[in-house]
């Protein structure tokens, strides 16, 4: 599968917002006002990048985060890969359970799963793929691959 947009980020929390803004600016679809795009895709991508920078790479400046965004056949897909050891996504407890509601963390993966149509991890647990299904066939990503 060809990637329409490819970015490589440093493991710096200040890069997260810039990367999300850049992807959204390159995605004609995402500029529309529909909640699924404005909210769901944006939240999902932000949370995936935060997990990769904070927990995957542990803010190690020597490690990078790769983002590949593809729009194909009505599927807007973002794949986020870090250079960490990976983790077990099934190990994250439900943050909406009464006993976890007062926890300050643990909501990122939950939000991704709630807002995206598909969320999957590779076996190692250092690469997450997010998919938002889009029915409108008139939209697309501007430009080609970017590094």
């Amino acid at each position: 599968m060809d990637h329409d947009l490819v970015l490589e980020l440093p493991s710096d929390i200040s890069s997260i917002e810039h990367a999300v803004e850049y992807v959204m600016s390159r995605c004609e679809t995402c500029e529309r006002t529909e909640t699924r795009l404005r909210l769901n895709f944006r939240v999902g991508l932000t949370e995936a990048l935060s997990n990769a920078v904070l927990y995957g790479n542990g803010r190690d400046p020597a490690k990078k985060v790769k983002v590949e965004v593809t729009l194909e056949q009505g599927r807007l897909q973002a794949r986020v890969t870090d250079q960490g050891m990976g983790f077990d996504p099934t190990s994250i407890p439900d943050p909406t359970a009464p006993e976890n509601l007062l926890e300050s963390g643990g909501r990122g993966l939950f939000l991704m799963r709630q807002l995206l149509d598909e969320v999957s991890y590779n076996d190692r647990g250092n690469e997450v793929t997010l998919v938002l299904r889009i029915d409108d066939g008139t939209m697309g990503l501007r430009g080609g691959a970017q590094a």
Binding site: V43, E47, L102, L111
Partner: protein, 110 residues
């Protein structure tokens, strides 16, 4: 992007400009905790000019609410747009906070 902190009687009002995300959550935490240490117990965080909150931002609000409650105070939230309401509802944090449509409502009842 930043925070405007002001006093309305004995209530500390924090207005979030732009976003509350992983990149600036610590600044909000520090500013509210300073007020808490100074004796303030009633807090309203207003999101009238906020476009987005990520899970880190939600987490810092939960953390602050706990600390304020431990001191016998309360943290209220106001002026959430529809997107932000959705995030609070999905995470069930709408059950944890008193949330009002306007900062005026939050201040009036305190």
């Amino acid at each position: 992007m930043g925070f405007q902190v002001s006093q309305d009687g004995d209530v500390t009002l924090v207005e979030v400009e732009g976003q509350l995300i992983v990149g600036n959550r610590q600044e909000l935490k520090q500013r509210v905790l300073e007020q808490l240490e100074g004796g303030d117990r009633k807090f309203v965080v207003d999101f009238a000019n906020t476009g987005y909150i990520d899970s880190s931002g939600l987490g810092v609000l939960v953390s602050l609410s706990k600390k304020i409650r431990e001191r016998g105070g309360e943290l209220r939230l106001s002026s959430l747009n529809e997107d932000l309401k959705t995030l609070f509802e999905l995470t069930k944090l709408d059950t944890l906070f008193r949330i009002t449509d306007t900062k005026g409502e939050a201040l009036d009842g305190f």
